[in-house]
Symmetry: C2
DNA sequence: CAGTTACGCTACGACTCGTAGCGAAAGCCC
DNA sequence: GGGCTTTCGCTACGAGTCGTAGCGTAACTG
């Protein structure tokens, strides 16, 4: 698959002993476990290797370093998010907001996400990895929600592809950013009431803007 | 001042040689400089000490560790944000959005902010430090903007103190979260157009919600 | 079978950590 | 001034981590 985010440098399409897929899974699970236990700054490769039951060298054969390993270990968590068809745009949006809030309450998700973002500010390759492994992947939720709302007649189709794309980006930044900020910076829970108020704010803002010019 | 965020454990109200204020400033400046040069994960106390021209022990006499040092080194950057009276609420909000966007483009700000937030997910004391040193401090912008808009008659006064407080929190999370997400996760600039569109989204959302019930 | 690659294990130099001890410096109070 | 207290820069230390290299073995291909 083209958006494969797993370990790199694999030559296993060739001859020789193939890499253990079980080791892959064990390492990623061990990384998440270690993140919960010791956090980011105290997470060591030796620790992860020991938890996974593999040698430290096996980690370095697959990932260049901690940062890349953690990105991959956490990216799969975001794939759990889905957009159930609840019959209306507000209900759909609120559902995703609450799912995302619940996801960010899991220690391994919040710790790892912020840590890798911090590292990415000085590492273009890592930034790219985050973008393909997480960000672009999850924009599917916004795109699907808009398409579904259009089909229901809740929102008008976008005037052109350019504004559609920019709106998608804006919505994504606002929703994801607000949830992240609420959870990690303000350190408060994303409860049903907050999710409803955020959804209301965004949707009325969008619809009023459209109809008002 | 009561919200002093500087080094702790100072007994300098007593007798003996007082701590060098110049060393304080030099250390914080050196920390920001090191963040720009080497990033977060490779920032070492020895490096900071060398840049500041002080001994490593001097750092540990004032701060418990890297995390606390970095919070203090970065907190002052956020005090630069201000709310100029531009005559209308949209103009005021857009101004702060752009200021915040510009601030987060500075390497020391973005790197340090995300890094300490990541660490804070497993450190209650650090979380508290961030909250008092940065978050609660900057909510002043939202509070001032609302008060000013009320005086202008642009928005109605809040029905009660409870909803006023929750609205302040929501607005803060949405605005700050969106800017942070745009800058650090999506890795795109907060330009004039984006700031205008975000402002429009939020303000129409808020006003429509109020008038519409 | 031979060839190739991944595996676990051990060992290594380099680096950072946080602390301790030292003598000197810089301020207070009498 | 003298005495007291605290900070200063400096050096040294054990502990821990890093990322790599080398080894013999295991697993799969043709």
């Amino acid at each position: 698959m083209s958006t494969r985010t797993g370990p790199e440098g694999m030559h296993q399409g060739r001859t020789g002993r193939p890499r253990s897929l079980a080791a892959d899974a064990a390492i990623l699970a061990a990384t998440r476990e270690a993140l919960v236990d010791v956090g980011w700054s105290r997470l060591t490769m030796s620790d992860v290797a020991a938890r996974a039951g593999v040698a430290k060298t096996t980690l370095y054969r697959r990932w260049p370093g901690r940062n890349e390993l953690v990105v991959d270990a956490v990216a799969v968590l975001f794939d759990e998010l889905e957009l159930p068809d609840l019959g209306s745009l507000p209900a759909d949006v609120e559902s995703v907001v609450r799912q995302f809030g619940a996801l960010l309450e899991r220690p391994e998700a919040k710790t790892a996400l912020m840590a890798v973002i911090a590292e990415a500010t000085r590492d273009e390759a890592l930034r790219q990895r985050i973008r393909t492994a997480i960000v672009e992947r999850q924009k599917r939720l916004v795109v699907a929600g808009r398409r579904r709302a259009e089909e229901r007649g809740e929102i008008p189709p976008p005037p052109d592809a350019e504004t559609a794309s920019r709106d998608t980006d804006l919505i994504f930044d606002v929703v994801a950013g607000a949830v992240v900020h609420r959870t990690l910076v303000s350190a408060e829970r994303v409860d049903a009431d907050w999710a409803r108020r955020l959804t209301e704010l965004i949707l009325t803002g969008l619809s009023a803007r459209r109809t008002g010019g």
